[in-house]
């Protein structure tokens, strides 16, 4: 099997119920393995996770490439510091391991899967009508 479908996650907001595309990724930590549910964010350049996950998988957070994360507010107090590291994760539905850059934020960040390193590996269909995402593993280029 080189594709799988994943149902969207229901979440309540003040404006009503929303459904968000998610994917589970397995990370091998220092003492165990755990699954993490990430929101699939096609608008994000890069994936995002809290700093503690980097440390949990054995990375030295400080050794990553330093970035500043900002949201809508331009206020300096609304920014977070992050470090970009390359990290390996398993897509359990396909038993496929990939390596992708993740920005680990020094704060309470959501788990987001962005385009870099992930959208290179999959054709992704966000099927809002059926509230599901179809992930198709792309074949390696010939030659």
């Amino acid at each position: 099997m080189s594709s799988f479908a994943k149902k969207w996650m229901r979440q309540k907001t003040r404006t009503g119920t929303v459904y968000r595309p998610v994917i589970d990724l397995l990370f091998n930590e220092k003492t165990s393995s755990n699954l993490y549910s990430f929101i699939v964010d096609s608008g994000a350049d890069i994936s995002l996770a809290p700093r503690q996950l980097a440390e949990r998988v054995g990375l030295d957070w400080n050794n990553g490439k330093r970035v500043i994360l900002t949201g809508i507010s331009p206020k300096p107090e609304c920014t977070l510091e992050g470090r970009i590291h390359k990290v390996s994760a398993l897509v359990p539905d396909l038993a496929f391991e990939l390596t992708l850059p993740v920005c680990f934020a020094n704060g309470n960040a959501p788990y987001l899967i962005g385009r870099e390193g992930f959208f290179d590996e999959f054709d992704i269909t966000l099927d809002k009508t059926r509230r599901r995402t179809i992930f198709r593993k792309m074949r390696a280029p010939r030659g």
Binding site: W8, M9, N34, Y36, G43, Q52, P110
Partner: protein, 71 residues
């Protein structure tokens, strides 16, 4: 396990989602085993429980999500 737990959370009652919103949670066998407002706190609880593999996610606050920019 993982498929069931993800689907369980997605269909969980509003009461549960409200109780844990804004928190990181660890789920196993359709139960929230641990929750915390920080990942540090969640890992501390998991290390005490040692439950084996769990599904970790964050139950978002009831706001719409928008982009994050890197500089």
């Amino acid at each position: 396990m993982r498929q069931r737990d993800g689907e369980w959370l997605s269909s969980a009652k509003t009461l549960i989602l409200r109780r844990y919103r804004g928190k990181y949670v660890a789920i196993r066998n359709k139960k929230i085993l641990a929750a915390s407002t920080t990942m540090k706190g969640l890992y501390a609880k998991l290390d005490k429980l040692n439950p084996g593999m769990v599904l970790i996610t964050r139950i978002e606050r009831p706001t719409l999500l928008v982009y994050v920019e890197l500089r």
